[in-house]
Symmetry: C2
Subunit: 450 residues, 2 copies
């Protein structure tokens, strides 16, 4: 990497200790980069890409490494392009409600800056306290509020990206609309760093909702909770979030960071409505009544403090599960909302079949369930059963008209399942598109495609 250090003096490290720190992500997949670059701007990313392109060295753009499927794990001796220094919010255009920022900005930091200006950026991945907007774009991240407000993609107006050979282009527009040529922005969103490196982001934002009410509903029966979800939405109320936790999830979080979730119930729904104060009162009461009719005990959290405690517990869930078992296989299937009761039932059956503890939680309003198969990688027999269970769960998900990933992407961990959902022809088109952007295949190799 000698010449690279000359090209970007002071931006490159090849110290083993540091390289280790950039070799993994939340999926626990691992790799070792040949170098880590910390560019300070588009121009530096461009020079880096050009060097990598000319020398046929793979590169991997990296945000916070909070991905769940290994998207940012460097394979094949890639150079990690860490966006930690490109973390400026460049402009908040309040009148046009457009924000310009660099990819390294932490989601939570953007949220707070905007709220201070009376603005609102809905996408709120559970890792929002540390994940970056660039990473959110790479994975097309969702979050609880996707139910009402959509996912990352829905807020991307345009991007500045560096192509593998170093060429800088701008995609999309900075206006509310634009149909000039093909939509490259929305192709790049969710492409997991396999097409190009995002260096600037133009986001659409909304006015901050007037008020928020959060409900905690505990159900004596899991199935009743699952049935309540479509019932709420069919009633015409679209909460901004309907989060679901089964008893295993509640147990895990209570034993790790107790917040007083009712441990005697089989399932919990956290329901949040936002909007004009007088409207959401009615909506909250309507949702509460529906949950009660399915046997739930309902508590209202309408002050910021109790709301935050609820959400902290929800966000603590993923780490908490590691206290149950050393390995969790965390999937994020989506089914049509009305199929939630069926998939929950099927997962329970599959868990029994393979003698495994499976913990379910997630964004029930979207039909997006995080299925956590708890196991131990060092126990080959059990781990084998866990792998088989995952395949069964995916088959059932697809049978119900669902998808094997709602927001985590494919990365490394899911690529072997890609063919279960996509036809050969579709995968062929995607590989063709990849080759158009990345003819030498240096962008984040070993991801998405088996």
């Amino acid at each position: 990497m000698k010449n690279l250090k000359d090209i970007l003096p002071g931006r490159i490290t090849t110290e083993k200790e540091e390289l280790f720190c950039y070799g993994f992500d939340a999926s626990k997949e691992e790799g070792l980069p040949s170098a880590v670059a910390r560019p300070y701007g588009t121009d530096e990313v461009s020079r880096l890409s050009e060097f990598a392109f000319n020398n046929g060295i793979p590169i991997v753009p990296r945000g916070a490494g909070s991905g769940m499927t290994g998207g940012s794990v460097p394979l094949q001796g890639s150079i990690v392009v860490s966006m930690e220094k490109m973390n400026r919010i460049i402009d908040i255009d309040e009148k046009n409600m457009v924000v310009t920022l660099e990819p390294g900005v932490i989601n939570r930091d953007l949220q707070e800056r905007l709220e201070a200006a009376g603005l609102f950026y809905p996408p709120d991945p559970t890792s929002m306290n540390f994940c970056t907007i660039g990473g959110n774009i790479a994975e097309n991240a969702g979050g609880p509020r996707a139910l009402k407000y959509g996912v990352t993609r829905d807020y991307v107006l345009g991007l500045e990206v560096v192509l593998p050979d170093g060429t800088v282009i701008t995609t999309g527009v900075k206006t509310r609309k634009g149909v000039v040529g093909y939509d490259l922005s929305w192709l790049i969103v969710g492409s997991e760093g396999t097409l190009c490196t995002v260096t600037k982001i133009f986001l659409k934002v909304l006015p901050l909702p007037e008020d928020v009410i959060t409900l905690l509903c505990s159900f004596p029966q899991l199935q009743k909770a699952a049935e309540a979800v479509p019932a709420i939405i069919a009633s015409g109320v679209i909460p901004r979030a309907i989060e679901f936790m089964d008893s295993g999830a509640v147990e895990a979080v209570e034993s790790y960071r107790p917040v007083g979730l009712p441990s005697d119930s089989e399932a919990v729904l956290i329901i949040e409505v936002d909007g004009a104060e007088n409207v959401i009162r009615q909506e909250a009461e309507k949702a509460a009544a529906i949950c009660a009719s399915y046997g739930a005990d309902v508590k209202i959290a309408d002050d910021i403090y109790s709301r935050e405690r609820l959400w902290e517990s929800r966000r603590a869930l993923s780490p908490a599960l590691y206290h149950l078992k050393p390995t969790k296989i965390n999937e994020d299937i989506v089914v049509p909302r009305t199929e939630i009761p069926q998939i929950i039932q099927s997962i329970r059956t599959i868990g029994q079949k393979y003698r495994l503890k499976i913990v379910n939680f997630g964004h029930a309003g979207d039909g997006n369930i995080h299925v956590n198969v708890m196991t131990d990688k060092n126990n080959p027999d059990e781990y084998g059963r866990a792998q088989a269970a995952v395949r069964d769960i995916f088959e059932e998900t697809l049978r119900l008209g669902g998808t094997i990933s709602g927001e985590h992407g494919i990365g490394i961990t899911k690529s072997k399942y890609l063919g279960m959902e996509l036809s050969k022809a579709s995968i062929g088109l995607m590989k063709g598109i990849k080759a158009v952007f990345d003819p030498k295949g240096i962008m984040n190799p070993g991801k998405i495609f088996p």
Copy 2:
């Protein structure tokens, strides 16, 4: 086309009189197809494509031919694939709020079927009474309600498409989320029939808004109307529509289909808010007060009859303009909302410079202005000045951070301007993607790319 008639008996016509009817669209561009096919289903489209592919004959998918840029005009002796027989609404899944339909469904028919079920499909192109959903997808159509609800793309969950060689694939998902591989659906939306033929559409829909209020605001000064638009949105009120007409537009519609628009004003805004009754009252009053503070006279239309009359007048505008001049060059630029006063001023100056009548109307809330340069194709001198004026307007639009097309697409009429907005590298990527889908270049040739 002998063999084609054997492959799709009863679906193919080559009668000159009929071919003429499929040779144009609302852009007044013209071509003559070698044949017109009216398939009844995906399988027939697939057989047709395979035939075209094997014989190197171009094909052009066609909805209602209401496009403004020549997207559906058959060039190079293309076979027109008219979707008029593929017009079934296959399924309305009320509980999951997902609709499955064929591309030939008329936008208005879908709207009405959904409203009867208490559901809502926001995209409402001005041609909604006759344009098709398939055409809306080809152009990524917008409409007045895009201000609050977004454009066609924002409602497309997935597609069934026929690739040029006849292969059928399904893109995207039928669920609320999905991030498995690249997003082919949103690449196909807005691709103007240049990549593949859409045969089935999966749309997300919303609950029908409780109530709607429409305001008619007439401004003594054009600039004040332009200034009022960003002021309304900055106040936190997001109307579902803010439509703008200058005095030329008001004149045209009043002389063609009088609805009593105030002819003494320099500009009119039609502002529409929707949602919970008690909320939109407040929002309507807020918007009315802001308009009044900019000197507007405000009328409230809160019954369906007077509302519809207003919208009919708005929809009559485009045809009405032909009563002013034989030729209108209709552009649909977008600028950041706050630049509307500037672009309106610049357009006025450009009109004076070239001694042309330019009529402006459109979706001001989005910054999307329909600029109509009124001229006569048979008057070479005037038509030349009109062409020069259009280029000046595009230059100014781009200077202000805008785009040269907000919803009409590029088609034939705008392809010569593509390079004004997109870099060579971007156009290169798009052509590369086109080649991946359409290696023989048989899909709607002569469109988008110069």
